[in-house]
Every structure is written in structure tokens, then in C-alpha cells.
């Protein structure tokens, strides 16, 4: 059976034009997908049953037992951490947050090691953005700053920017200028009209310089800023100013390098400055397919997009203090539930060591690095393949992922609902 307009649950592009052929509970072909999508749909490397660590080995267990033991672990803890969430649908995220609320837990999503600093910057200065269709239909200047879409968001350029013809740009590839700013000459830099190579850690200074230039203060700019010549800075600023509609997309090159949120703040303030002259927008290249959804769901329930601490009953938020990496490396938490992510692979070693030290439970379809650090793992259906639910694209557009076939695994929602019910029962009214 061929299913059309399938939504890809891999990256923040959330492409929704895939054609997937299904035979029973097996996917036999994928059309329109990128390499990442093909691997996601065609790959079949699921953990078969719930597993539980016993001594130096692992034993199979049942869902009921695994969930009941997880509930007990979480209820026994004084500072449990519920981490992950960006790899599942919004309905499951919502239960997870209510679970944290009732447990007095910390709840955090993968933004913490992704666009968390972007959120901090947005909280300082706001976010002039738009949906991706605005860029497709209008943008004549596109900037990728500290991001390499060809590898990380393979269809971003063909669906929304460089290669995507739009209403006001009938021949996008010719009519749009592409500027790539990075510390290395990435695949994306190779096809840029202008490649700006910055010394590592130099983004803040370059952005400050561009702001000053846009304000007409050219005389202050020294011959070179973080490895970028004054001439190139002027050229880039002129390209910005001559745009009818400019779009800046930025990635982890800004969020992870020194200055962190301040780099993004500076980029947003440049965008704001440009809006005094023309139309400009800026947007983070969100990584996981539903990481933005986790920010949305967290926000409407708790008021904050990530890193929320319910220890005191109320929601407390302070990244740097209530973020997972900090809490784990300071050995604060005494139990951890990981849902739909892999902190074992993506956190520094000290954090992985603490996950191994405390009772860690993972709810995830696959065996990953965190599996080895856990006490229990509960396999679930993959949203977008054998489970469905809401996801938010990187620009905030909500799209419902599809269930392509009914498999044998329970969804994240089903497992979390059961867990929530047991915790509620243990905690009492």
C-alpha cells in the first residue's frame, strides 16, 4: 500500500511530502525522502521487549513490571530528572510534563544541548521570524550562519530556500543570493555566492561589526574582525541592505561556541536593525523533528520552553541551573527518566557517569548509548511510523504525523499514561 504526503519524523524540516510503501508492518520503499529519511523509515533495529538490568547482565521483562518499577523509582527520588521528549509527539510530551508536576521533578528537553541558548537570546530581545513559506515565496537573500543544512537538514534548501521557486521568485537559484558564514568550508559553503570564514569564537565580534555598519558607522570597523576583512564585511552588509526580503538561518555554530546565547542575541539585534531598512527575518535551524514541539508544549503548560524545576511545586526556570547537563554533572538528581533521546551519546562524560550511577530508565524504540547506562528500557512505537501525534516544524507550523501501520509496540502516550496513573496512585490525592 502506498501512502502519500507522509510526514518525516527526522529533522526540524518536517517534510510532509514523502510517499511510503508499506507491506504489513514493513516499509518497503520511500520516495521524496533524503538519506536521513530513508534510513529512518527503512531502518528496522528495534529493541524487541522491555529489558531490565540484573547484576552485570540484562533480562527481558514485561511492560507492566517495567512500568511499575519505573513508577516506584521516580516516586522514591528526591530530585528526579525527566529528560528528552523531542523525539516523540506532543501528546506524550504533555503527559510527561504533568508527570513531572506530580513528582516534583525537573523536566528538560533536548534544547538544552541544541537551541537552548537561542531561547535565552529570544527571551532577551524577541524573535523576528516567519513561516518557511514566506522565505520560499519572497527571500532574495538567504544566509546560513553556523549551520550546514546539506548534512543536517538535507532538504531545507530544496524545499524552502536556494532551490525552491516561490511566488515572487520564479527562478530561485538565480534570483537568490546565498551567503554562508562558518568556521569551516562545509558542503553548504561550497555552493554559496559568498562564503564568510570566521575564526572560531569570533561570531559575536563579526555580528557587532555588522550592526555598526548597518547603522552607518563604517569608520569604526578595523581592517579585520575575527579573520573577516573589512571589505567583505562591507560587501555582506551591502548585500543585506539591498535585499527586499532577507532570511538568516543559524545553527549550533552560534549556540555552542563561546558567548552562547549572546551570539544569537547579537544576530537577532542585527536582524532587528535591518528591519529599519528592509525586511529581514531570522530563524534557528531546529534539529529534532519535534524539538520545537517540546518547547511549545512545555511553554503552554509550565510557562517555560525547557529546563523546568517543579521541586518546589511551582515551575522554576533557570538554564545553567535547572538544565540537564548542569544537574547531572553536579550529581544533583537521584533518578532519571529518559524519553525519546540519547543523553548517553550527546552529553559530556561526567553526565553519562552520573546516569550510570543513579537508577535511569529509558523509554525509546532503539538500543542506543543510553541503553548501557540504564536499569530499565521500555521499547515503544516510532512516532510517524507506527504511532501518530502532533509535531511542530522548526518555524512553529504544527503538522500531524501519521501512523503508517499498526505495529506491536505501545506508543509513548500509552506507556506514559500508564506510568502517570501508577504514580498518581502511589502519590495519593
Amino acid at each position: 500500500m502506498k501512502i502519500e504526503d507522509v510526514v518525516c519524523p527526522f529533522c526540524g524540516c518536517l517534510c510532509d511530502d514523502l510517499v511510503v510503501e508499506v507491506e504489513g508492518t514493513r516499509i518497503v520503499s520511500v520516495e521524496n525522502g533524503c538519506t536521513l529519511a530513508n534510513e529512518k523509515f527503512m531502518g528496522d533495529h528495534r529493541l524487541k521487549t522491555p529489558i531490565r538490568r540484573e547484576g552485570k547482565g540484562w533480562k527481558e521483562t514485561t511492560y507492566d513490571e517495567a512500568i511499575r518499577e519505573t513508577a516506584q523509582i521516580l516516586c522514591d527520588a528526591d530530585r528526579p530528572l525527566l529528560y528528552g521528549w523531542s523525539g516523540t509527539h506532543g501528546e506524550a510530551q504533555s503527559i510527561g510534563i504533568h508527570l513531572a508536576e506530580i513528582l516534583g521533578a525537573l523536566v528538560d528537553n533536548t534544547s538544552t544541548v541544541c537551541h537552548g541558548p537561542s531561547i535565552l537570546a529570544i527571551q532577551e530581545v524577541g524573535h523576528p521570524g516567519c513561516t518557511l513559506g514566506q522565505v520560499k515565496n519572497r527571500a532574495d537573500v538567504v544566509v546560513y550562519w553556523g549551520t550546514n543544512p546539506i548534512d543536517a537538514h538535507p532538504r531545507h534548501m530544496s524545499r524552502y530556500t536556494t532551490f525552491a521557486d516561490g511566488f515572487f521568485l520564479k527562478d530561485a537559484f538565480r534570483d537568490r543570493k546565498l551567503i554562508v558564514v562558518d568556521v569551516r568550508k562545509s558542503e553548504s559553503a561550497n555552493i554559496a555566492d559568498e562564503f564568510v570564514r570566521i575564526q572560531p569564537g569570533g561570531d559575536y565580534a563579526v555580528l557587532s561589526a555588522l550592526r555598526a555598519i548597518v547603522q552607518g558607522k563604517r569608520s569604526i570597523i578595523p581592517p579585520s574582525v575575527a579573520g573577516v576583512s573589512r571589505e567583505q564585511l562591507f560587501r555582506v552588509a551591502d548585500l543585506f541592505l539591498s535585499a527586499k526580503f532577507g532570511a538568516i538561518f543559524f545553527g549550533l555554530g552560534l549556540t555552542m561556541s563561546r558567548g552562547k546565547s549572546k551570539n544569537i542575541r547579537n544576530a537577532i539585534e542585527l536582524t532587528e536593525e535591518l528591519n529599519r531598512h528592509t525586511k529581514f527575518i531570522i530563524s534557528p535551524m531546529r534539529g529534532h523533528w519535534n524539538v520545537y514541539g517540546s518547547n511549545e508544549v512545555f511553554t503552554w503548560i509550565t510557562g517555560y520552553p525547557y529546563a523546568v524545576d517543579f521541586a518546589r511545586g511551582i515551575a522554576f526556570y533557570n538554564p545553567g541551573e535547572t538544565t540537564s547537563v548542569d544537574v547531572l554533572s553536579r550529581k544533583e538528581c537521584d533518578a532519571c527518566l529518559v524519553v525519546a533521546s540519547d543523553p548517553g551519546a550527546h552529553f559530556p562524560k561526567a553526565c553519562a557517569e552520573h546516569l550510570a550511577r543513579i537508577p535511569t530508565v529509558q523509554i525509546d524504540p532503539h538500543v542506543n548509548a543510553t541503553t548501557h547506562l540504564s536499569r530499565i528500557q521500555i521499547p515503544v512505537a516510532v512516532t510517524g511510523i507506527d504511532a501518530e501525534g502532533t509535531a511542530y516544524r522548526m518555524d512553529g507550523v504544527p503538522i500531524r504525523t501519521r501512523m503508517l501501520f499498526k505495529g506491536n509496540y505501545p506508543s509513548d502516550t500509552a506507556v506514559l499514561e500508564q506510568l502517570y496513573a501508577i504514580v498518581k496512585e502511589i502519590k495519593g490525592p
Binding site: D78, E124, S208, I220, V225, G259, R265, R312, E321
Partner: protein, 262 residues
Amino acid sequence: MRVILRTKPRKKPFIPIEAETIIPQNFLRKNDIRVYEGNKERRLEEIFYITAEGPAVSPDQVEIVLSGETGNIKRVGEYMNAGRIVVEGDIGMHCGNFMSAGEIIIKGNADAWLGREMRGGTIRCEGNAGHYCAAGYRGEKRGMRGGLVDVMGSAGDFTAEYLSGGEVRIHGDCGDLPGVEMRGGTLTIGGHCHRPCGNMTGGTCMVFGRVYDLLPTFRGAGNEEREYRGQRCQMMLYKGDTANRGKGSLLVKKNLNRTGTD
């Protein structure tokens, strides 16, 4: 009155204690003071051995002495408006948040957000301070508005972020971006720092050590003389940050072989 709080051993010593209730005014009467250990509410005596000596009729006659394993105790002195707190060792995050009067002495190191959004009073830290020392809260446009934060050692990154009033002195080094978003008040840095005063719109920052990676958007505006620890120093004056409105002053001590954008 002198109240001595000495920590008891804890089963899970890494779980922070939240103790905004530890402020002088709460010890005037024999209140039932509670703190939090993770998600569990505890009576103060579950966490501390408590001794109290002498009388007090107003909070400014109360001195609280904290000793033992205090490096993981947060929010001590939050909203404090009178009296004195002495921490014999290290102190956890958010010490002296919103403090409006009184004095906090920390003999060891202070963790991050020391004196966050402080309005008045004095915090003196004899060791080092963590990140966001004397800074603001997420999303809020004003950080510290009054009072004095005096750190004998070094401070971390983003020191005095959003400083709007009052005085911050770091006698050792600062990390990256001290005085970032600063809009008023005075920041004095005795040692070295990276990229001071990014995006500043007002106030004065003086650096008596070296500045690394001075931002390209600061404009030289002559020389001035300033005194630091009894010594007259020749300073270079920069106005900035011109990426923003450029109304702030950054003074950097001259005659060091490494200044500027090197």
C-alpha cells in the same frame, strides 16, 4: 542575636538545599523555618545544628553564621532587608537575590548568580564568584540596581550582565563578557577579562588588568586617570558599544603589553 547554623551530614549531599528562609528577620521569633531538599520540605533543624545566642528586637541586630557543607545551599539571603549573614565556607547559587539592605560576608567561594537583581546592601565574597555574578534574571531588562558586590577573588562569565545601578568590584579576573548589556552603575575589574561590555548602553566599567578580544565596536575617546587600591592609573577610555547606542564608558589600564584586539 547570633544564630549559628552548622550543617548536619546528609544522605544525599549533592541535592541542593533551597533556603530563601535564611534571612535575619525570620530568626527574630522562634518561627517554624522550613527549607527544601530537592522536592522534600524539611524543618531547619533537620538540616542544621542550630544555636542562638543573645537577644534581638529588630532584624538588624541579627547575625546568622552558616558553617559546614554550605556550598550547595541556594538562595541564602534572598530578599534580605536588614542584619548580617556570615558564611564561613562556600555558598550555593543565588545568594543575596533581591537583597535590599544588610550585609552578607562569604569567606569561601560563591556559586553562580551571586546578588542577582540586588537593590541595596553589601555582599562581600572573599573567595571567587561563579557565573552571572551581580546579574539579572532571564528576560528581565534590568539586573542589579543598587548596593555593592565586592569579590576579592575572580568571577565567572557574564559578570554584572544588565547592571543598571550600584557597584560591582571584582578584584581578580573575570571570564567572558563582563558588563554585557550593562546600562548603568559601575563595574570594576582588578584583573584580566575577555570581551568586556558587549552591547553596553550606559554605565562605567574599569579594567585594571588586561583586556583580551576587545570588541571592534568600541571607539577610542582619549585618556583618563583613575585610582584603584590607592594607585593612580592611566586609563584608555573607550565609548561603546557602538553596535548599540554607544553611550557607555569602558576604561582600560594603559602600559600593559597586551591590550586591544590581540
